[in-house]
């Protein structure tokens, strides 16, 4: 193994159809060939020292920068250049030289390891060209689509802008209308209120008269009831038969108590009964309508059980307010109409406000430098995997739902664009999703790549509760550079 590894490579390259041989030390790219001249001592590329040329690629590291061993693994920081004719040239760390693993498609990295490598450059080149071509087509078409998207977005944006302007104009008018209607309403409500109050007052008075009338009738009725012996007088003993009138509530109405109620008299006639009546009317239980009275005591229960027919109904009807007179009703109707008009206008104003806010919100989103992402707004895209249905609603939220039933989990709501500095529009970040057990809130990064269609192509959870979604859209397609359709026929010389 001490043999020198100063093997010169023969590079066959195809250029303009003519094979050319270029000699240089193993692992040196053409761009650096000039530093490796066999006739001269070699100076490390960092200038740190000069060594005899036979120490270049002698499998011992002399230069700190590794430049004396471009073709061996001797230097820890060296790099090896493979030409990879037919594919793309590359540098590999020199630790990958002769490590038994084929890294260069032209097999030049494994010249002494026994690894059986096959030259796959042509195949790789072909595949890469296919992929590039496909990519180029996609990019081309995608870019065209993007132009349309930009066009539409701009149109849409203008429309929305002018719509907002219009709406704001309309809103002003609406504002005025609302104010005007408010005045109309208030103007109409004043006479309405007064008329209603008048009506109410009249009715109250009427009610009082009726009540008085009723009271009198009841008093007369009671007198007759109490006057058991029908002698035209109610006596103390007759009154005593109504124990409920007991003033001290000890259960018995004594003679003295009864006498007291009767103002000291032994008996009273109909006219003097008038002074007794106020003292007893609240407690008095009518003898004939006792049952009825019980029911009225239990009114609450009755009301709670509306299926039971109540005998109070007519009684209530008596107490209902009579309908408004025509004038009052006309005032009310007028006021109601003013109210309705006002409310309607106010509602319209609110709706208008909402609409303006929504459009303004939409306009405030960063839809990209040319608004090319506008079309994604208020759309949703789904991807079904073996277990879940993933749903991406751009600028809104990401969610996950088990395929076979179960509730939806929020994987994050719209946060921000978070791509690299040179193009932040390559990544979207959705944050503050449903919390994980003993963990953080779920979040999702959406990686955008150029594609003709707008689809979610994959999802994964690289870290617990941190999701990664891949999403293709024409909106990120870059303008295709005018490249030579077959760039790899030219190998660098």
């Amino acid at each position: 193994m001490t043999c020198l590894h100063l093997l010169l490579t023969l590079v066959f390259a195809v250029s303009l159809g003519t094979p050319v041989e270029i000699q240089r030390p193993r692992g040196v790219p053409l761009t650096k060939k000039q530093f490796y001249e066999e006739s001269k001592p070699f100076t490390c590329l960092d200038g740190s020292r000069t060594i005899p040329f036979d120490r270049v690629n002698d499998d011992y590291c002399d230069c700190k920068d590794g430049s004396d061993e471009p073709g061996t693994a001797a230097c820890p920081n060296g790099s090896f250049h493979c030409t990879n004719a037919g594919y793309r040239p590359m540098f590999i760390p020199s630790s990958r030289i002769n490590d038994g693993i084929c890294d260069c498609c032209d097999t030049t990295d494994e010249y002494n390891s026994g690894a059986k490598c096959e030259n796959t450059c042509k195949e790789l080149g072909r595949k890469e060209r296919e992929v590039l071509q496909k990519m180029a087509e996609i990019t081309k078409e995608g870019f065209l689509l993007k132009q349309q998207l930009i066009e539409e977005a701009k149109k849409g944006q203008q429309e929305k802008q002018s719509k907002v302007t219009d709406m704001q104009e309309n809103k002003k008018q609406l504002d005025e209308k609302v104010e005007a209607l408010r005045t109309v309403k208030e103007t109409a409500e004043q006479p309405e209120k007064e008329a209603k109050e008048r009506h109410l007052k009249a009715w109250e008075e009427q009610k009082a008269a009726i009540r008085l009338e009723k009271d009198k009738a009841k008093m007369a009725e009671t007198f007759l009831e109490l006057d058991d012996n029908e002698d035209g007088f109610v006596s103390v003993s007759e009154l005593q038969s109504h124990a409920e009138l007991d003033p001290d509530a000890d259960g018995t109405l004594t003679e003295i108590e009864a006498q007291g109620l009767m103002g000291g008299a032994e008996q009273v006639d109909t006219s003097t009964f008038e002074s007794v009546w106020p003292k007893i009317k609240d407690k008095y239980h009518s003898e004939v309508s006792r049952e009825e009275a019980d029911i009225s005591l239990c009114l609450c229960v009755v009301q709670a059980q509306p299926t039971i027919k109540t005998p109070e109904k007519t009684h209530e009807d008596e107490e209902a307010m009579p309908p408004y007179d025509a004038d009052t009703q006309a005032l009310i109707d007028a006021a109601q109409k003013a109210r309705d008009d006002f409310e309607e206008a106010e509602k319209a104003l609110r709706e208008m406000d909402d609409q303006i806010r929504n459009i303004e919100k939409e306009l405030s989103f960063d839809f990209g430098p040319d608004a090319e992402f506008t079309y994604l707004y208020s759309q949703c895209y789904e991807l079904t995997t073996s277990e879940y249905i993933y749903r991406l609603c751009p600028f809104n939220r990401v969610s996950q739902k088990p395929k076979y039933g179960g509730s939806e989990t929020n994987l994050g709501t719209w946060g921000s664009w978070s791509g690299p500095e040179n193009n932040k529009y390559l990544l979207m970040k959705y944050e503050q999703g449903t919390g994980c057990w003993q963990g953080p809130n779920r979040s999702t990064t959406v990686k955008l790549t150029c594609g003709k269609e707008t689809v979610v192509t994959s999802t994964s959870e690289p870290s617990r509760c941190e999701y990664l979604m891949e999403f293709t859209t024409p909106a990120v397609c870059q303008e295709p550079a005018n490249i030579d359709p077959s760039p790899h026929d030219h190998v660098e010389l």
């Binding site: 011992y60 630790s95 490590d99």
Partner: protein, 777 residues
Amino acid sequence: MEGPEVLLSLNSRGLLAFEHLRLHKDTQAQADGAEVKESVDGDQQQDEGKKDEDGESEKEEDGLWEETFKSHTDTKPNGPTSISLDFSLPGVEHVYGIPEHADDLKLKTTDGGDPYRLYNLDVFQYELYNPMALYGSIPVMLAHNTQRTMGIFWLNAAETWVDISSNTAGKTVFGKMLDFVQGSSEKPQTDVRWISESGIIDVFIMLGPKPSKVFSQYASLTGTQSFPPLASLGYHQCRWNYNDQEDVKSVDQGFDQHDIPYDFIWLDIEHADGKRYFTWDPHKFPQPKEMLQGLMDKRRKMVSIVDPHIRVDSGYKIHNEITSKDFYVKNKDGKNYEGWCWPGNSGYPDFTKPEMRAWWASMFAYDQYEGSMENLFTWNDMNEPSVFNGPEVTMHKDALHGKWEHRDIHNIYGLYVQMATAEGQIQRSGGVERPFVLTRAFFAGSQRYGAVWTGDNAAEWDHLKISIPMCLSLGLVGVSFCGADVGGFFKNPSTELLVRWYQTGAYQPFFRAHAHLDTTRREPWLFGPENTALIREVIRQRYALLPYWYQLFYQAHKTGMPVMRPLWVDYPKDTATFTIDDEFLIGSDLLVHPVTEEGSRGVTAYLPGAEEVWYDVHTFQKHNGAQNLYIPVTLSSIPVFQRGGSIIPRKDRVRRSSTCMENDPYTLYLTNKTNGELYIDDGHSFNYDTKKEFIHRSLTFANNALTSSNLCPDCNFLTSSWIEKVLILGASKPSKVLLKMDGKETPVDFEFDTSMSVLTLRKPGMNAGADWTLLLQ
């Protein structure tokens, strides 16, 4: 006794005790969870041979015939069976060992607190500096003073408690000085008491007197560290979980993109189909062989987890076979014992049965473990065994292994799991290839079957710190192949902690990063280019030193010497080393003081040995021994020193995996007046043992001649590795250098760095297996 000196006495405190077996009386004592050990406190017996005839007269205590712990009941059909014995160690102030505990290297006295407990348990988020039981148990204690090292091996696999007391423990340094001045000092003494729940008193005393003697004496009882495949000493990338084949592939590529070496990528429980071990999730890992072949093409390997709890599922081959062969552990009623673990309801194979182990081993055959290949190795987790719904998350003590209760064998269950698994790997290769199996539970002797890690630690600085004494303690009692989860298992480490952990882990025997399912991803390149570079650098340091690690494991395998050692093992008379557990030796020749403090700007390392000199391996600066050296540090620093008088063989051409470096040349780092060795074999087979296919050379540097001579003349192994460089530290400049080989002398180019006195011999070029001499003139 040694002369008039008493070295150790047994039962001097009269704590020898045992419960003789007796029949259950009908007086049913109601259980209330009384500690078993309390039941032996009362009866003190003087003679092991003499049966205690009046045991019947003892007061019946609670818990003798049945105990409850939380909702669990231990029926204790045999009643109390505990045993105990005390050992007095006159002249001893330092005792070590009895892992596994998350505690200092030097054992503490347990007066007034709980004893050290040995009972293999799956502990959720364990506490540090605590004598509580953890995943493994090795009932071996070492006692050390400047005159002698001894060991006590209490061979018992039941739950065991160790009480330690010392007559000097409470004394301050001043108190000790006062004793010394007054000359009235009583001799320092450490008293130790061992208590086990069942079994017999079976004790081995290792008399030393040198530490190396204790190691070989103990190795003669339980065997030495298995000689691991070289690749397993490389870096391991693990995570719960690498989600699918695509994930594995992209992590693998990530290492290449960032030019970081690694040898093993690991799959945790989610890889299996419904936690049915020996199977693959059909959606996430549909083509395991394709994945393994992809890794093999990169000369890398994989580990899949195989736990000993078996999903009870009539559609699962493994379960059906164990059931039909009647290999499950039984419950107290003789039915198959079932408990909850990752797959849900699970059975536990009875690994104490040799037939069961043989069958288990056969399951690793390539045609049985479908989708496995020769670069797939195994991880045995949860083998305490972990039973989620069992008492203390383990198996009921009255479960049955044949006629033995689980109580009797608990601590050795995990050992048998790893034993059977390692045997399976050996068998699948026809006995040719060395196995690699990682275990969480262990017992005395587990070193014979593979590696051990310190279980589910956390991403905290204290956990980084504790990894050192935890692995040192294991090394002292035979288990050299030890490591802690780099980065910490639970929680997310800060970037600084992660970098420091890589720097520490790279210098510990088993080097694996691992992380909990709920943590964020932490592959080495996810923390910015500066930190990627720091981690890359330290992993490269590990790979450059693999030849040294490998030959230390060879020595450990041959002699029982620990690979990662406390300083006192090599400096047994230097009392300053006795309690050091923030630095350690790798072999005799590398001293490592990892930075384990957040925001550290410097560490003070103790360089042992009044006669020694130590060379900073990064700067080649020379320092004298027997001093505390302050070393300023930055985030890139990892203080490592090479002992003067040693030779460290390195492979400085670090590649993407250890296998890729197989044929690479060596660089020898040495100093004046040197002895060293060089061991080389194929790195993976038993041929070193069965066919003597290895190279073992002695390297000596004396009288200006560095000579390689054969330590094994009848060995035969050919290597294509050669010597590309020799660095002599602390050298003077010669006028010329000659290589004497095959009777010829050829001049060798050299360079001399005057500022650091480093002589570099340029490309002497001899084959690493040859006889040669380099003459400095």
